[in-house]
């Protein structure tokens, strides 16, 4: 069967959902197409699990004047794993949404966007042509934009949507240029050709380095890594099931997928790997610290996603391919669980701030149990999937540090171990603040309907059993890229002890101050972390405001100077006199003209120097 069906089926479902409009049954139609997509995904993916090379199918191709663009698919083990993850989470989210959006009117656009999103994610992971991948990649970005802005009456939703789209798009321009470099090195837009050229050495180190540094721009944007990390937490005003799908299990994971897919090219570009290592080391710890200080449950989870993605990049940047892919899959399961659990909590209490939660353990028993499993997996406790995958990642880092003695390995290992502790602290804190202590807010709470419970149970089961993937290294890594061992008993015991100790300290602190937020006593440090060190505000001041100022200047110039200049004297005589008078006026518009002429001059000089 053509893998294209996994892309086409949800897209068709989207058209169907739009045609249905705001009827209550639209949600069920969405879930139906989700089921269809999942079944198709099984048919396409399961036979390919463990398949190293995969089969390539070309639907059509067309000329560009340079290399042709081919609508080509490859289903290998990595693609198969990603298809399974994406279609499973999408199905569960669609089912969950039937209950979550029961009282809402904007069902049609919501369902359609989730389905288009699923289609786009499948396209990304199945594509074997960079431009086909880019279509899926950016369509996901657009769906994400619309879904974050789902509650468009709210200011934060509007602002968060724009921010998410622009920051990821900024990175995507880098990705586009990276594709140009890869294509010029291989003479084709095929993704697998790029990997082969790098592995066989026909691609030079400088080409691979330039290409991967540019590709990393797109990856860093999509996966919300430092320094483009600010959009993901601001994307949380969207509906919570969306956060599970887009901002945990799939779209942000696409960045990790792309780096894993281009592992051969990364291996040929040590500089790019080092850059990625530094980014991962900074991001994982910083994001975890931010997560400790937040009041908003979804914001905690968002920062934890950023931090966990950095673990995957850490593994990939030291060549621990299997560990990175393992953590990608296990994180997909337990983070979807956590977001959907958070959705059930939000559904019950009517807000995302942890100040209105507390004591929910008895009122929402099923949510409590499943979410607890999610938190355990996040913190890395035995026997949850997160324990095994994080152990594999840390083991890979340890190998790099001890056996290869690389500074990247040491940097990542230190950052990774510190992050383990911080992760345990914020998981414990969030767990306590939501489910324990004194209840706040409304007295009458009810558990969510079964459509919302079923996905929680399924995901909890996956989060518990997912560690079994450790027994199938062929599925994670059919080519044997490394690391050789996914299990590291000594390291596992040490980190488990650290996690338990941290959890205990957090609990003691919480218990000592009688159920009050345990980080409250950190004062200014907490305030700084709560404000996320002012990075967002700094970008605002350094980029956004100057851009607007320049835009206003351009508009003023075009109205006041250039028009009369052309309309009146400018066309014929007096050009020189006008220019002289103009220069003497010394006002802002001249500067704009100077900037423009300067830009022109720089471009031409660059050409002259390059020639």
């Amino acid at each position: 069967m053509s893998p294209g069906w996994v892309v086409v089926a949800p897209a068709a479902g989207a058209v169907f959902a739009l045609a249905m409009g705001a009827r209550p049954s639209t949600g069920w139609v969405g879930a139906g197409f989700g089921l269809l997509t999942w079944l198709l995904g099984l048919l396409v993916a399961v036979p390919a699990l463990g398949d190293a090379a995969g089969t390539r199918t070309v639907l059509t191709s067309f000329p560009t004047g340079a290399a042709p663009i081919e609508v080509a698919f490859v289903v290998d083990s990595l693609a198969a794993l990603m298809v399974l993850l994406a279609t499973t989470v999408a199905l569960l989210v669609l089912l969950y949404s039937v209950g979550y959006l029961a009282g809402e009117r904007r069902r049609a656009s919501y369902t359609a966007l989730v389905l288009v999103f699923t289609s786009a994610m499948s396209l990304v992971v199945l594509a074997d042509d960079f431009f086909v991948l880019l279509v899926g990649w950016e369509v996901m970005g657009a769906c994400s934009y619309f879904l974050i802005g789902h509650y468009w009456e709210r200011f934060e939703a509007r602002a968060g949507a724009v921010k998410a789209f622009l920051l990821t798009r900024l990175g995507d321009i880098g990705l586009l240029f990276g594709i140009f470099v890869l294509a010029s090195a291989t003479g084709s837009f095929s993704i697998s050709a790029a990997g082969e050229a790098a592995a066989s050495g026909t691609m030079s180190t400088s080409q691979a380095t330039a290409a991967m540094l540019l590709v990393l721009c797109g990856v860093v944007g999509k996966s919300a890594q430092f320094p483009l990390h600010t959009w993901l937490p601001d994307a949380m005003p969207g509906p919570t099931p969306i956060s599970a799908l887009i901002h945990a299990a799939t779209m942000v994971a696409a960045g990790v997928y792309l780096v894993a897919r281009l592992d051969d090219v990364m291996a040929a570009a040590p500089v790019a790997r080092s850059v990625l290592a530094v980014i991962a080391a900074v991001t994982m710890l910083l994001a975890a610290l931010f997560a400790v200080a937040q009041d908003d449950l979804k914001r905690v989870l968002a920062w934890s996603t950023v931090s966990q993605l950095a673990y995957m990049f850490a593994a990939l940047s030291v060549g621990a391919y299997a560990a990175g892919v393992f953590h990608l899959v296990s994180h997909g399961a337990f983070k979807a669980l956590l977001f959907l659990g958070a959705g059930a909590v939000v559904h019950a209490v009517g807000g995302t701030s942890m100040e209105v939660m507390g004591g929910l353990r008895r009122r929402l028993p099923l949510t409590f149990v499943t979410t607890t499993i999610g938190f355990a997996a996040l913190a890395g406790l035995v026997p949850a999937a997160g324990f095994f995958s994080k152990d594999a990642v840390l083991g890979g880092l340890l190998d790099a540090a001890l056996h290869e003695g690389s500074w990247q390995g040491w940097l990542l290992l230190v950052s990774g171990l510190l992050t383990v502790v911080v992760t345990a602290a914020y998981s414990m804190r969030a767990w306590l603040l939501v489910f324990f202590g004194r209840p706040h807010g409304a007295d009458v709470l009810h558990e969510a309907p079964w459509m919302m419970h079923a996905p929680l149970i399924v995901l909890a089961a996956c989060s518990l059993a997912g560690g079994a993937l450790v027994l199938a290294p062929d599925v994670l890594d059919p080519l044997g890229r490394g690391p050789a061992d996914l299990v590291h008993p000594v390291l596992a015991i040490a980190t488990t002890a650290a996690v338990l100790l941290t959890a205990l300290v957090t609990y003691a602190e919480w218990w000592r101050v009688d159920g009050i937020d345990p980080v409250a006593r950190f004062g200014p440090v907490r305030r700084g972390l709560f404000a996320e060190l002012g990075v967002g505000r700094a970008y605002q001041a350094a980029v956004v405001r100057p851009t607007w100022a320049l835009a206003r200047l351009v508009v003023a110039t075009d109205r006041d100077v250039v028009e009369p200049y052309v309309r009146g004297a400018g066309v014929t005589a007096g050009g020189l006199g006008t220019a002289l008078r103009w220069l003497q006026r010394g006002n802002a518009q001249v500067y704009v003209a100077a900037v423009v002429v300067g830009a022109l001059a720089i471009g031409l000089t660059a050409g002259w120097l390059g020639a």
Binding site: G65, E153, R158, V162, F165, W548, L600, G607
Partner: protein, 497 residues
Amino acid sequence: MSWLLPLLVALPATGALALAVWPRSSADRLGAMVGVAVAAATFAVSLLVAVLTWGRDGMRLESEAAWIPALDVWWRAGVDGISLPLVLLTTLLSLLCMVALLWERPERVRALVLSLLLLETGVLGTFVVLDLVLFFVFFEVVLIPMWFVIADWGDRHDPAGRRRAATVFLLLTVAGSAVMLVGFLVVHAHTGTFDMVELAERGGLGMSTQVQVLAAAAIGLGLAVKAPMWPLHIWLPDAHGKAPTVGSVLLAGVLLKMGTYGFVRIWVPAVPEGAQALAPYLACLAAVGIVYGSFACLAQSDLKRLVAYSSVGHMGFVLLGIATLTPVGLNGALVANIAHGLITGLLFFLAGALKDRHGSAELTAIGRGLYARSPRLAAVLAVTAMASLGLPGLAGFWGEMLTLLGAFDPAEALPRATFLACMVAGGVGAVLTAAYFLHVVRRLCQGEPETAPAEASTRELATWSPLLVLTVVLGLAPGLLLTITDPAVRLLLGGDG
């Protein structure tokens, strides 16, 4: 000898003539219907042209006849992969404009339809003729009806402003065309022919580099005014701001393309050494236009002016693609041309609909919350904005991506570093384009509804839907266009370019 292309050009002209001589009383009522009938017939002929030439390389359906032998002026016409998409775009947009007039019922509709049909004749003539003098004639024919359309049917609230805008448009373009004609005469003086096909085959033979540079500068200037290239774009925002909806749609959708088409058809092949010498300058000005246009859009408060400035940016991509002098750059330019025609045509339809409802195209006058007030119109606007900002999977992406790819690897004789700088500027422009379109969606579609509901009627949606459908289709299958432009472009550049 094929009569199809002369027929294609003559049909709208005949319709215009018929309307002119028709008794006044009944013609005014029937004006729009006659317009629709003639435009539909023209569209049908263009489809026939497409069917007959699709997938066949080289110049097709050629016709030739001496017209003014004393001046060496011939009727020569033909169609290939470069002109065919533009012909189809022209006939489609003209038809949709006529249909829009059918519902809109403006004053003195007969005269308006007459003007639009003349306009269509001029544009179609420009795209199919293969003689420099005829090209010039048709290029000029377009101006007069456009002047009337803007000056007489433009912004109802600002009669002085619309007249001024129309006059600036006319004067600038005429000045540019005059220079262009000088360039044509220089070419003729050295080669003894106005035949565009022959000139392309000669590839500048008979002209020294100096002469070619001079000719390329003159021809390029005239075309650049029309395109419009920064800083010759001054006429555009005003003309669009004041033009009626149909005027804006045709102005953005097809008139601008006459400039870029001329670059591809004449400038690149006929004076290749001149083009090569001037290409870096063209690329830099195009890149400045991309960034400048985006900045101008960001702080723009009038929706129609904003879409006009966005055209400056988008046409900057087209010019950049042409300046690379590579097959991929030219393909990108041609695809971006068509995509811009569809998407910006649709944007002007939408902006016009909003202006009609609120009496002004100011963002503050239109107000927030269109998602609630007019969900269907708002959804079309949001999708069109996504298309215009170049979302992969919609039509706007492919052309601009290919022009940037061309700039990444320009023709060998060109300075690569200049083009890399231009490519980066284009990338910055793409991000800024996303910024201003999201700003528009945020200001208009989202937020608490401010003014009365104003949902799009089924008729309006029907008028817009062909453009929307084509935007999606060409976004998913850009190969439809590229398979016909690519052979033509390679032929034009000679060998494998």
